[in-house]
């Protein structure tokens, strides 16, 4: 299991990146993250919504109420322009960290 500090730190870039491919809603975002991480990145469901609301408050994403195919009311979130910029910054930073770690690992096991 991934440590909760890392789970919390990765929530924002993951949400922004998922929304970059189109609008989505809370439940679907959680399922997508779970599937992509092979079940290793397991968010506490209720914690996703404060993050979504915070991103919306910061003007990175926007929301609208809509209906699912079954007629159930749903709140859909989508990326705003500032969100896209924030996502790119996250990608740069995470790539940097990944690059440093990969380099260190390579040196150690070379």
């Amino acid at each position: 299991m991934i440590r909760k500090e890392l789970v919390a730190a990765s929530a924002e870039p993951l949400i922004l990146s998922l929304l970059a491919s189109g609008e989505s809603y809370g439940y679907a975002i959680i399922q997508e993250v779970k599937t992509r991480s092979g079940g290793k990145l397991n968010w506490t469901d209720g914690m996703l919504y404060p993050v979504l609301h915070r991103l919306e408050h910061r003007g990175l994403i926007k929301s609208r109420w809509g209906e699912s195919e079954t007629g159930r009311k749903r709140k859909y979130y989508s990326l705003k322009k500032d969100g896209k910029t924030a996502m790119h910054k996250h990608h740069e930073q995470w790539s940097l960290i990944h690059g440093v770690l990969a380099g260190l690992k390579k040196e150690k096991y070379a």
Binding site: G26, D45, G46, M47, Y49, P50, V51, H53, R54, R72
Partner: protein, 204 residues
Amino acid sequence: MLAAGVPSPVPLDELEIHLRDEIEQRMRAGFSPQVAFETATQQIGRPHQVQGEFQKIETARDTLKWKLQQLALVAGAGLFPLWVSCIVLFKVGGFSQTTPGERVSCLAVMAVFSLLFWGGRLSHGLFPVIPSKRTRDAILVAGFILVAVWWMVFFNLIVPRYDFTAGQFGVAFLWGFATPAGAFAGLTWGIETAARKPRAASTT
């Protein structure tokens, strides 16, 4: 969730819809309705933790709003006396007929106004800390009603009893209008600043 005080009905709507989706999914996976409900509610997380996260957003919103309000207050506290003082000193409009003594009195009103306005902010440590926003709002509304009643009494009942010259009217107008306005603004600023002080300390 309601019992835990999750603040706005909108997140509650979302959480409820999420819970229904999760229960349906688990039932499709073969769980009984009872087990599906229990495991789904566990997965949502503890109400006080979720509430805590929403509270952080509310606090951030409140902080931004308070900064903007303070900017408006600083602008009001600075610009209004400056504007009135310029009108008085340069004898604009009705103030062209004021005597030197009346002009000094007008400037004194502005000094008192500024003192009351800034006094509230600077002496916020003397104000009681009222954590409830509703109580603070009630005090401020009551204060504003008192000031408004005073303005009505002063301008409709007191001022017409006297045969003022234009200059005297200007002086009376400023004393009757600006002094309670300054006191009210100072009270507002002091109460709101006092209420935010412990919160700021606890979040750092």
